[in-house]
Subunit: 291 residues, 4 copies
């Protein structure tokens, strides 16, 4: 049975998106009121009031939420169906289950494990999987299971099958914490859960391998990091968060890597937190983020 | 007759604040819907869902807004009175009238005049008043009236009376763009309009005169600027916006002043824009800013 | 006769660069001492102490500098020749002559003119040249000559010849303040002076036209601006300065343009100031900036 | 015997400061050259070329440094004595010994231990001392000794004596990583080593206890952290580094604390690194930082 977070007890998060149209906000707020919910936060965005797309996130408190969920869900379906809207309703007291895939670098991984231990990340972490073993002790010292799935050359199918076996039904989303293997399209389809990556450049600059070396060669004055959902197109998925840090001519490629790693872990931590709190809505190759 | 801004034609902004209670958001959104309004943006905040204060800003589109305003206002009053809420409704196509008070420094003044000319500041500027004359030509080159009201020593009453005479019924808010006179309590009462100041430090650090000199003496590594509403208590009013810039041991007090002036004009421009767009709600000595 | 800046009277700036080798710094500092100079600031950088390139900037005070310059130059040549170093010595009291090329946008242009009038830019501005006329009055209100050289379709040779005629022997460097014409290789060769551009993206992201539209399409969370020296390869020249500002899903392409224009003018102002103060050394496609 | 860092083998760092006067830079560089050193980096600063104070940091490579140190020191003394300068020369391959004092918060402590393990902090950490025990296991998992010295009410003399006993002759500087006890003047005198603190506000704003609560009450829009050398005057010592992060009306005091802790650890890590690399020179209540 999943841990229940006290401060979010009886809090639900409703995400609604679809074609914008008059009366939507009123319909949703009336719906929450008649289901005895009290709105705590409400964010909404329309990319074009004339025939655009509409996005809404509402967090509401409702005493006895878990018992009432079936009725609320039925009412939402009945209310929003006529509008043609997509929606999802989550009980905020139930943390999402987050698996982490890592390689040899530990800075993003440890940042997530440490924030989780401090209670800053509203997730459970059922496992860390790595194609290397150097982080095993660290991971287990946080009380988190570690699994070693070695990479095996160009044919990734065995390793990916093993990872899928571990993840199946055990996770709600996957984080690549500087995982240095490119996942196959088959894997992304079969994992059937959002996969969040951290790329060590300010995308779309320096797509692909060795971005710090490329940044050094180009002589940029800022370097960055980008967290995005993984899609079939490498480094092209919807961006969740980005940030940069100032560098100078005196920084070597190794310096860029060192300074960049601080940006990477900060950016990934923000992206993961926002995803875990249902603050991110994907829309085509964009994200709507209600921070 | 005031200029009408096309892009905001038929857009109203409703600000609601008061004691938080269940059903408020639903009541407001239902109200807008039954008055044929379509919500464009909605922000709300409660500082404590259990008995705290509630703040909401809704922008909605309503065809034929100006003719319908009396009816909408009556409905709002009838709807929100039972909740004990304060509210105000503005027609967003009617820009606020902003007077600027300045002294010899021109950087904040010119920033506002130039942004206004570019169409970035949704205000009209009926006048600039200064206790000096050096900026007169610049102001008039923007097509804006300039009035010289010299300071006259410790007794400010004559100068303030002259300024009040100019402002009365002509302005919706007043901006002190590095105006170097301290306004009396009587002036603040009689002007009967919000007054926004830019202070050249990161408040509450370096309250009072000569903040750059004090910052230099303390050896800080960042300097800042703060825009706030003016109250009787000097430099203690509700903060609207702040920002900082990095400095080093090598910067002299004059360097701090020069670098700080860039922060001052940026911070003041943001604060003024947010105020003009009804994005700022005062609450005690705090501001709620929906940017 | 050029204006003399009092605060820099009798100050010289010596730039030295070439192959790194032991004793270089000592040789340069001894040289300055025996020429009765007192070092005010000294910056140096070596990209690799083992056989790399060496860069140094020294500002020194020398009473009666202008009379002594020929002797000092002879001594520098004699001292640094054995090391195979390139060098240049400038009298810091003589401001560089900066021409500005502009189109219809005024934000970068006015930023430079304002800063110049405030005494923050150590340059003279002999002229502004534009292929449009809308900024003419503004420019002339600063007491600066304005020349209109209209663009004439795909064949730029006539317009460029006219601009070259205006610039020849009158300027030390050229700033493209959102000048929307691509300069030909012939122009860049014949102008025989550094040309500084501001590109409205965080290069190398969004090279070429319409970067704000591309940034909006990609869904980035930060937008930027880049100031660089212009070379034959469009948007590929050595970067002098870059900066970014945070944006969100709610910003339209027009919003990005508006917010980006603030970054553009700040970045260009810094790059121009550093160039004017001989703080930038070009090295291949990189810059060494001693700020 | 202390660990030797390979990349800094045979590198010395010379710090010189005292009254500015002509010929100083030349004297120092000539000195290094005649001692067969090759200058790698040189930074210098004078707070007033006419009778001010002069600060210089030179890193030079010298084959066989450790054997030559006595001769080089003698030459420095003979050269700089006539100028009345203070100086210190350190062998950069010998890391400074850094003790950490902590309480219950782990974020600053773990940040330093992580960076140290990654090789980013050029120090050894002979011990962590805490008045609590909750971080003991974490500290020891990094292979670092942990000592528990409980606080004992208003009379700190016993606890401080115990800490001094642990530190004596074992450390080169002390870091207070959110250590929540105020050290007595006697302790500061007897420890005879620099003590670096992290204060959880942008000093001089919110001096003293509970800065996040005070920041929340004042309604600031940015919160910060400040790392400084500890002096007798609480929160008044020379500032090494500061930074800020944006907050909003919606952040509670607990949110400010959480977001602030990220700034605290980043600021402290930079300050400690700069101190460890001899990049910080104290001068009265200021610091000269050559980053």
């Amino acid at each position: 049975m999943p841990a229940v977070r006290e401060s979010t007890l009886d809090h639900a998060c409703l995400i609604v998106h679809g074609p914008d149209q008059p009366g939507l906000v009123a319909a949703v707020t009336a719906l929450i009121t008649r289901n005895e919910g009290n709105i705590v936060t409400l964010d909404q965005y329309s990319d074009n009031p004339e025939g655009g797309a509409f996005f809404q996130r509402v967090v509401f408190h409702r005493a006895g939420l878990s018992a009432a969920l079936p009725d609320i869900r039925a009412d939402i379906a009945a209310t929003l169906e006529p509008y043609g809207m997509e929606w999802r309703l989550t009980d905020q007291s139930i943390p999402k289950r987050m698996a982490i895939l890592a390689s040899t670098s530990d800075h993003c991984l440890l940042e997530l494990l440490w924030r989780h231990r401090r209670g800053e990340l509203p997730v459970t972490i059922p496992m860390v999987v790595s194609n290397h073993t150097n982080v095993a002790d660290d991971v287990r010292s946080f009380g988190i299971p570690f699994f070693h799935v070695p990479s095996q050359g160009p044919d990734k199918s065995t390793a990916e099958a093993r990872i899928l076996e571990l993840l199946r039904d055990n996770v709600d989303f996957v984080v690549l914490a500087r995982y240095m293997q490119i996942l196959s399209d088959d894997f992304l389809r079969d994992v059937a859960a959002p996969v969040i990556n951290i790329h060590h450049s300010f995308l779309p600059a320096f797509i692909g391998a060795a971005p710090y070396r490329k940044a050094h060669e180009r002589g940029v004055k800022l370097i960055g990091a980008t967290s995005h959902y993984v899609t079939k197109d490498l480094d092209e998925g919807p961006i969740i968060e980005q940030d940069v840090v100032r560098v100078s001519h005196a920084d070597t490629a190794a310096d860029l890597q060192r300074r960049g790693s601080d940006v990477e872990r900060a950016v990934l931590a923000r992206a993961v937190t926002w995803h875990a709190e249902d603050r991110v809505i994907r829309h085509g190759n964009h994200t709507i983020v209600f921070p």
